[in-house]
Symmetry: C2
Subunit: 351 residues, 2 copies
């Protein structure tokens, strides 16, 4: 086994702290990656604090991983030492169900069997550990290639925040001639604005905060709509082909449904803890849809990365040292970040 | 103007009683229909009692109308005296918006401007009156042809209950190789079971009532699932391509979402007064959809009637005289009808 170092939690109430842990040896189809950067997703915090009630400790979060290939198993053909690569939320799947066969491993019938952290590494029969660490061992089928023209730190959040928006934008047909709305300008939302704009859609940001209007426009939104302003909302009645809600907190979606065209879809990518009250009449009266979507498959994640390389798109990040991770969590809870924290993993050596 | 007779309410609390009222004269493109039968939809009751707060009195309900053409305007080419015809929820629309141009008048951008009752007949500037009456005058574009092989009384509910199920079944692809669920076996639900079966889908009824299992199978369901039985529900996890919820009362949809396949849709056709709490995780984890649908366009309604003629499908009805309408409303409130009341309009002459 490989002895690795990283930052993790040892109980729901303990702050993240340095620790050492095991990873499996590099198997035939495995790749060992030296981690350079790891994005900080809100779910890292949920996981570290056992807010989803499945955390096993010690818990090492991190699933927006970018690094360089350090070594490869003898059966690996697609990657070689030195390649710039990424790892997202998944490091395995059942590989046999219909969804896996169709390249939609995120909807694997077995559930997300191979989560980057919080799953099980069967080779060593231990809970899998995430990217807040020096290196990781991943099957080559779940490793992505990062375009060399992108800033590798800013590319890290593409592995979760990026694909979480890219996949529904593609699935529901965002592109030229389409009007797309993104609710919320956070880690997810700011990627939605950039990607929808790059796909050629007329892109609108919905926000409750006037202070975000200017930023949204810089990121590619041609419209920034204050969702509490009924007159502004009314101007856009029945004009949207797609609206993606990135807000996890429970909030009232009623005002948004009337903004959708007939047959158009509202997609939830944030994950509110409790059921959302959905008004039925706006759905009935225009055959509108309310749907959900999570991340994307491995094939689509590579497609997204190549798209981002071509359009020179990455996340807006605030770089932190691993020693600042607990402080970053507190700031994240107050939405005090533009728009994603990214850990410089070289700082791990400072202890 | 034509002086017509019918049954209507004069206030929210008054029972329906005989009355006379005006309809417009038969215009160039109009058809005068002698009404033979009129189905009784739950919304007739909502309307008569002003439960939707837009009723103008006197209010004559009825939008599941079947009769014979009595006279036609000089510009009418499609129908002649004696033809067996039907009228549903719509007697007009804006005719210019995208939805109207596409034959989806039910989603007219102006709203349902030409409701059979409760709209406005601009020709006489009076609230439109429905089918609980001796005759009706309707533009030929909103008149449907009833297949002569169907029992005209049992065909009447096709004009609302039938098309309300047919349209979403077609839109979301019910057919051979597909597994379709219908929630609730009432006026809408029993048509859903018959139609989905006739389309070639494997058809399941979800019910809370063991007493309906046998009926559902007679109507064409190959499965009848007791929705309160967790073990029965679990057997069908992730197996449905489409589920249509016909229940208007607020109820918990959570157990049904896990029964849908990836990318499958739950369609609401009942209209609950309050927002429905929709659990987000089952949507996210399989990219499932929750949608709404109302009736169908005129073109699709004719297609549905032709389909019913070909497959010899109509509603299961309990015939009543118009004098029993108030009693029928009370029984409808207790779901004491299998499965649709239909008024024999010849009884109107009894006073």
């Amino acid at each position: 086994m490989l002895i690795c170092t990283g930052y993790g939690a040892t109980s729901p109430s303990s702050p993240l702290a340095p620790l050492t842990f095991n990873r499996r040896d590099v198997g035939t189809s495995d790749i060992e990656i030296e981690i350079m950067f790891c994005g900080v997703c809100h779910s890292d915090l949920h996981f570290a604090r056992d807010e989803w009630h499945f955390t096993q400790y010690p818990a090492v979060p991190g699933h927006e991983i970018v690094g360089r290939v350090k070594s490869v198993g003898e059966g690996v053909s697609r990657y070689k030492a030195g390649d710039l690569v990424g790892v997202g939320c998944m490091v395995n799947s059942c590989r046999t169900c219909t969804s896996c066969q169709e390249g939609l491993e995120q909807y694997c019938a077995e559930g997300l069997t191979g989560q980057t952290y919080g799953g099980t590494d069967n080779a060593i029969n231990e809970p899998s550990k995430g990217g807040y660490s020096d290196r990781i061992v991943v099957d080559e089928n779940f490793v992505l290639r990062i375009p060399e023209n992108l800033d590798p730190a800013a590319a890290a959040p593409l592995l979760c925040a990026g694909i979480t928006l890219y996949s529904p934008l593609r699935h529901w047909g965002a592109g030229p001639g389409k009007k797309v709305g993104i609710i919320g300008l956070g880690g997810l939302g700011h990627m939605g604005v950039k990607l929808a704009h790059a796909m050629g859609a007329e892109t609108a940001l919905f926000t409750t905060s006037a202070s975000k209007v200017e930023d949204a426009k810089k990121l590619g939104a041609s419209l920034a709509i204050l969702s509490k302003d009924e007159a502004q909302m009314a101007e856009h009645a029945e004009s949207f082909d797609l609206i993606i809600d990135t807000v996890s907190a429970s909030h009232d979606l009623s005002p948004y449904f009337n903004l959708l065209k007939r047959d158009a879809t509202m997609v939830q990518v944030g994950a509110p803890e409790h059921p959302l009250p959905i008004p039925v009449f706006p759905l009935l009266m225009r055959r509108r849809n309310f749907a959900g979507s999570i991340i994307g498959g491995i094939k689509e994640t590579q497609e997204m990365l190549d798209f981002c390389g071509k359009h020179n798109i990455a996340a807006e990040i605030e770089m932190i040292s691993i020693q600042k991770i607990n402080e970053a969590y507190e700031r994240m809870l107050k939405s005090d970040v533009k728009y994603r924290f990214c850990i410089d993993m070289a700082t791990l050596k400072a202890g």
